[in-house]
């Protein structure tokens, strides 16, 4: 029968159960702050998902996912900020404080909410397509690509910090009121906001999962294995790499939008190198070869950071770093691979029926 872990139907069932469980949370949680916090975990889940797609399946280690994430977040913050401006008061206060007396041209489109939201996704996606296209065509790959994303991330971080009149500099942007779409305000502490984020996470997961099961997904995994060999089969490796990198960036851009919707705040911290590296840690610990595993990794670590972080404040990074080293050294495919081995053991014994539980790994079909 084979390992249940690799059974596609079982995988979809586990995903469905997982998300139905998450969707039921608002009916049990009354605490609005807790709900808001759980919703931000959804954002981290999206980021881990995007890393898993790009790194786990595409083999492209991206240490600069904060670029797409941050650009999306800034796009959303600009849109929300402009919603608070009016005809008589068209310039955001932080610009006035920096003695800017006209709205910069690239802020103009954000006065229109639809255009602003569109740009919040389109700009980072386009950036990934261009940057990825350039790098992958030049056959920059592996650790070199990782370093390049790191450099690009630092460049963005620096420029946003530097251009304070246009970006709010180190203070970032703090839109005074919640996001309004078509006249309806999305209260960040409501179950509406939670379900919106969850909805986007579900859509992103389903899309990502379908991608991995498509012919595209198979070729991508082949490229991860041996890019050179795949070229001689007639596939444009750069095209595939650019595509998966861009899709992954787009998911991160959505995550950025969601975060700002939830916390009404953006700052260069979203583009900090250490934050982008934490995304990689989530996926690595959860299991980068599994979309669900990576998401669980994000929930697990961010949850632990919030709750244990207070108790072990001083040693938290020590624990996280140590745990990460152990995973890289002894469990390169993360916690999800433990489950895979466990189910594999069950499958190898005849006449054993295993329950599909925990997370599933979408890698090798069958």
């Amino acid at each position: 029968m084979g390992n249940l872990y690799h059974n596609k139907t079982a995988q979809w069932l586990v995903y469905a159960a997982f998300f139905i469980g998450l969707a039921l949370i608002p009916s049990f949680v009354d605490d609005a702050f807790l709900l808001n916090q759980l919703a931000t975990y959804g954002v981290y889940g999206m980021l881990a998902l995007s890393i898993s797609l790009c790194w786990g399946f595409g083999g492209i280690l991206n240490l600069g996912q904060g670029i797409a994430f941050g650009l999306g977040a800034y796009g959303m913050a600009m849109t929300m900020q402009m919603q608070s401006q009016s005809e008589s008061n068209p310039i955001p206060p932080f610009m006035l404080n920096n003695s800017l007396d006209a709205l910069p041209w690239f802020w103009e489109p954000f006065s229109n909410t639809a255009a602003g939201l569109f740009l919040a996704i389109a700009v980072p996606t386009l950036f990934c397509a261009i940057f990825g296209g350039i790098m992958f065509r030049a056959r920059v790959s592996g650790p070199f690509f990782a370093i390049m994303t790191l450099a690009m991330l630092s460049a963005f971080y620096t420029i946003i910090l530097d251009r304070q009149p246009y970006t709010g500099g180190v203070n970032g942007i703090t839109p005074p009121s919640a996001l309004q779409i078509a006249g309806v305000e999305i209260d960040p502490y409501s179950s509406t906001a939670y379900l919106t984020v969850l909805g986007i996470l579900v859509v992103a997961t389903v899309v990502a999962k379908l991608i991995t099961q498509s012919s595209f997904g198979l070729v991508t995994q082949a490229i991860r294995d041996d890019a050179e060999r795949v070229r001689f089969l007639g596939y444009s490796v750069a095209g595939y790499e650019t595509m998966i990198y861009t899709v992954s960036g787009m998911i991160a851009a959505f995550a950025g939008c969601c975060l700002v919707m939830l916390v009404q705040y953006v700052s260069p911290a979203q583009m900090d190198v250490s934050f982008s590296l934490s995304m990689v840690i989530w996926a690595a610990i959860g299991g980068r070869l599994s979309l669900l595993g990576s998401m669980c990794g994000a929930f697990l670590i961010m949850g632990a950071q919030s709750y244990l972080g207070d108790t072990f404040l001083a040693t938290w990074l020590l624990i996280l770093g140590g745990f990460f080293i152990i995973v890289v050294r002894f469990l390169p495919n993360g916690l999800a691979s433990l489950l895979e081995s466990a189910l594999g053991l069950l499958a190898s014994k005849p006449k054993t029926s295993a329950e599909p539980n925990g997370d599933a790994k979408p890698v090798p079909a069958e």
Binding site: S214, L218, E228, R229, S236, Y240, M243, A365
Partner: protein, 248 residues
């Protein structure tokens, strides 16, 4: 009649060393050409130049009337040239079935492949090739655990899945048993009905068995070309190559 593949005055230098020196050859459609020569004669480098892995310093490669010199690997592969590497290169983390599925590269566009979940005609082709390559029972195994001989067959099968017009086989029978070599010879002879082959091989017995034309390379240049009996009668070839072989 012009050949399916024409190589005109190809040269390639690495730094100051000329690896390929003014090499020309022509392969007629539907024939099997064996490329032989002592180690370092430039056989694999010629394959690299034809498939676009490295770019020539000068000279031209024409395939089916089209200039493919220095084009990208995937463009050349799409034009109809399939290649088996000297060191068998298969996708070790994927299953045998997935290896064959990837090699069945009818649609190569990344965007359209996003929406493709089932490939037309894949199953029949995969069954046929897997049977031919003796891999039917191993389809769900990871390619990385195959034996050396099986890996050779998997890579040959992958090239066959591509259905190329021209197949380049770099030392296909290395590590195969006597029986497998015979089978390979049979398959290659069969393939001539639908495709053209260039086979790099050291085993002269195998070459004698399958070759329509034998091209001998020496020091990056063409030494002789002709039927196997012509080559075996050629004194220069005897000097640089066959002589050595027989003596060894």
């Amino acid at each position: 009649m012009p050949g399916l593949l024409e190589i005109h005055n190809l040269s390639k230098s690495f730094d100051a060393t000329k690896v390929i020196n003014d090499f020309s050859m022509e392969v007629v459609e539907g024939t099997l050409c064996c490329l032989v020569g002592p180690n370092g004669a430039g056989k694999t480098t010629t394959m690299d130049l034809v498939t676009g892995r490295i770019k020539p310093t000068s000279g031209k490669v024409i395939f089916a009337g089209e200039d493919i010199t220095a084009k990208h690997e995937h463009v050349i592969a799409r034009a109809g040239i399939g290649r088996k590497f000297q060191v068998p290169a298969v996708l070790r983390d994927l299953t045998v079935r997935q290896n064959l599925e990837v090699a069945y590269s009818r649609q190569t566009n990344p965007f359209w492949n996003l929406f493709k979940f089932r490939k037309a005609g894949l199953k029949e082709k995969l069954d046929e090739i897997a049977t031919l390559g003796g891999l039917s029972g191993r389809l769900n195994e990871r390619a990385g655990i195959l034996s050396h001989g099986e890996t050779q067959w998997l890579e040959i099968s992958m090239v066959l899945m591509q259905e190329p017009r021209l197949l380049l086989m770099d030392e296909p029978i290395a590590g195969m048993t006597e029986g497998e070599i015979e089978k390979t010879a049979r398959i290659f002879k069969d393939l001539r009905k639908t495709a053209t082959l260039i086979v790099v091989e050291h085993d002269m017995g195998f070459v004698r068995e399958i070759a329509d034309v034998v091209t001998v390379m020496h020091m990056g240049s063409l030494l002789a070309t002709g039927t196997i009996s012509e080559i075996e009668a050629d004194a220069r070839v005897r000097d640089v190559y066959l002589g050595e072989k027989e003596a060894a």
